[in-house]
């Protein structure tokens, strides 16, 4: 049931074992990971090109972290192959590890050490030559805007600063590819966009390929190309625009006094199939502006509001899987925080 988002004439999805393109820095063929009887990853093909920002999107539990762990040689695949920076992840994990930088989902800094000490230790195990170590550390700290905090204990850093320091550490040994697993999870929107600015900057200055997972659909807008994964399968792959074209035209949402009756009327008169979602009827049409008058004419119940917008990646996900990504976006920590905030609010 793999849908391909390729548009004729463009570089599309790969099927079957194909020779790796010259510009490919990550090539994955038929990757499967089983945990006992459960298949977390069910046959993935991927190609990531040199110097691009590649987004791996999907709800929690879709297989994103499993896939990224296999690519970073932290997990063994059950079957299939994966090449990263020209090396097979199963056969030559050390060579792969030396050429990639990693930013984990969970923090992995020593917060009792200073920012500089954390980087020095990283430089030591990744053998950044002593002669350039100090300068290189200063450079990466500068790049993520922590130049003035080099000697502060990491304990005193905010969540966003820690994450930026981890990114600095990830690029310290000049990797070909930087992997980021949910780099913006749990950060506020301002911090998230700041981190994205830094990542774009790194890509521009170092030409490093960035492979990242996220379940924030809006972050995919920063990516050159995107793969959407759901239940261990890639359901679409391409640029953000290509994916949005799959939805076709515009998304129209309408709220009426009687949605159920309106739904039947719209289906009968206008030959589209609306979906009732979050208290509004949502439909995809070729030309939204021209559609609205016909829509209002067709519905007998009073219309409360009509919205016409360009499709988002949320719409793409909804179309491909039949569900909104937020439905499954049950990050337990965030859910708990939200509950805590609500509780605190009530007490006030």
């Amino acid at each position: 049931m793999t849908l391909s988002a390729s548009v004729p004439g463009e570089r599309g999805s790969m099927t079957g074992p194909a020779p790796e393109p010259a510009t490919s820095v990550i090539g994955v063929r038929g990757l499967v990971k089983r945990y006992g009887p459960v298949e977390a990853v069910r046959g993935i093909d991927l190609d990531v090109h040199r110097g691009e920002v590649f987004g791996f999107l999907g709800p929690n539990g879709a297989g994103k972290s499993t896939t990224i762990s296999i690519l970073c040689t932290l997990l063994r695949a059950s079957s299939g192959t994966a090449h990263v920076a020209g090396f097979d992840v199963q056969r030559d994990p050390a060579a792969v590890r030396a050429r990639i930088g990693l930013v984990f989902q969970d923090p992995s800094l020593d917060d009792q050490l200073t920012a500089r000490e954390n980087l020095e230790f990283h430089a030591l195990i990744y053998n950044v030559p002593r002669a350039v170590r100090r300068q290189r550390i200063n450079e990466v700290l500068e790049m993520v805007g922590l130049g003035d905090r080099a000697s502060s204990l990491v304990r005193t850093f905010s969540g966003g600063m820690k994450r930026r320091l981890e990114i600095a550490r990830g690029i310290l040994h000049d990797p070909r590819i930087l992997f980021l697993d949910e780099p913006t999870q749990g950060l506020d929107p301002q911090t998230r966009s700041r981190i994205w600015e830094h990542l774009q900057e790194l890509r521009r200055r170092l030409g490093v390929t960035i492979f990242m997972t996220t379940h924030y659909m809006d972050e995919a807008e920063y990516c050159d190309r995107i793969a959407i994964i759901d239940h261990g399968r890639i359901v679409a792959q391409g640029t953000s625009d290509q994916l949005k074209q799959m939805v076709g035209g515009d998304v129209v949402s309408v709220i009426t006094a009687d949605d159920v009756r309106a739904m039947a009327e719209i289906e009968r008169a206008l030959d589209v199939s609306p979906v009732l979602q979050d208290g509004s009827l949502r439909m995809e049409v070729a030309d939204g502006a021209a559609f609205v008058p016909r829509l209002i004419g067709a519905v007998s119940a009073p219309v409360r509001s009509v919205t016409v917008r360009r499709p988002s990646l949320d719409d793409v996900f909804l179309k491909l899987t039949g569900r909104a990504i937020r439905d499954e976006d049950a990050d337990p920590l965030q859910a708990m925080r939200a509950m805590g905030a609500r509780w605190a609010g009530r007490r006030r």
Binding site: E10, R11, T23, H49, R50, G51, E52, C72, T73, L74, L75, R76, A94, A95, R97, A98, R99, L102, F104, D106, P107, S108, L109, D110, D111, Q112, L113, E117, F121, H122, L124, I125, Y126, N127, V128, P129, V132, R136, R169, H173, D174, P175, R176, L206, G207, V208, T209, D224, R225, T239
Partner: protein, 299 residues
């Protein structure tokens, strides 16, 4: 839509990265050791706090028992009223060993901590052999424990234990060997543990028996049979004995008395100090092997 980037850009330093080589692993060992020592040195509060328990044993337990034994008219270790050996002299090396034991084991706890708070992952994903973690941590813990033991030596004059320069020179390497064996033991346990609680449960279960059976507090001769067997299985016993040998020798206690209260006998024969050192080293290496295996188990 292929993003064309200048070919030369990403390769500048990528070529110099070591690929899981022996030198990379040695650097990782150094890094882990250095991090441990740096943090030990930086955290003076912990350094001082961890002296509290051994000092309590030495000053209150040691001096207290020493005076009451003297009050009862008896010296210690069958020396009668000659006063050539008092209990505090006897217990001092035991308390030094205790400081080493506790520091070594608790430094291993940082592994579980690092696992929980993520730093371990930074090392485990590096292009180095995972044995580096076990070796680096064992040496780091051993260094801390040895330093802690050395700090304890400073208190010797305070409780009337006379140390000569020679006995100190003798003591420091012995402290390191004991520290290495125990630190490796701690790392071996920690390598299998995924939670702080698990480690603490295991260690609470092991730590006090190891301490009590080591001969730190009483001589290991003339005990009930079952206890004799347990004491001989306690690695710390082979660390306490040489420490005591060196301390009592330096304090001018007659060799025969020192041997009677201090030596460990195995199969009816006294175990000489060099053999004790070898046994401790072998124990440490074996524990380290277990630890290395533990870290090679994928998560």
């Amino acid at each position: 839509m292929i993003v064309a980037e200048p070919e030369a850009a990403p390769t500048a330093a990528s070529g110099v990265v070591g690929v899981g080589t022996r030198s990379a692993t040695l650097r990782a060992v150094y890094m882990i050791w250095y991090r441990d020592v740096l943090k030990y040195w930086r955290d003076r509060v912990r350094l001082i706090a961890s002296l509290a328990q051994p000092l309590l044993f030495l000053l209150v337990f040691g001096l207290g028992l020493s005076s009451s034994l003297r009050g009862a008219g008896g010296g210690f270790g069958g020396t009668g009223g000659s006063g050539s050996l008092n209990y505090v002299q006897f217990v001092f090396p035991g308390v030094v060993a205790m400081a080493v034991l506790f520091t070594a084991i608790f430094s291993a706890m940082s592994i579980v901590w690092d696992r929980e708070f993520g730093f371990l992952k930074e090392i485990l994903v590096a292009p180095v052999d995972r044995s580096a973690v076990a070796v680096g941590k064992a040496l780091g813990g051993a260094t801390q424990a040895m330093l802690q033991g050395c700090v304890m030596l400073v208190f010797a004059p305070l409780v009337g234990v006379h140390l000569t320069l020679l006995s100190v020179v003798e003591l420091v390497p012995l402290l390191f060997v004991l520290a290495f064996a125990l630190s490796s033991l701690g790392v071996a346990v920690a390598s299998r543990m995924r939670s702080m609680q698990g480690f603490q449960v295991v260690m609470n279960f092991m730590l006090l028996p190891i301490f009590f059976l080591s001969g730190a507090l009483f001589p290991l001769s003339g005990l009930p049979g079952w206890m004799t067997v347990l004491t001989r299985l306690d690695p710390v016993a082979y660390g306490v004995a040489p420490l005591r040998h060196a301390v009592l020798g330096g304090a001018g206690v007659p060799a025969a008395v020192a041997a009677r209260v201090g030596d460990v006998s195995l199969f009816g024969r006294t175990v000489p100090t060099p053999l004790e050192v070898v046994m401790l080293l072998l124990f440490g290496v074996a524990a380290l092997a277990v630890a290395i295996r533990g870290f090679r188990i994928p998560d």
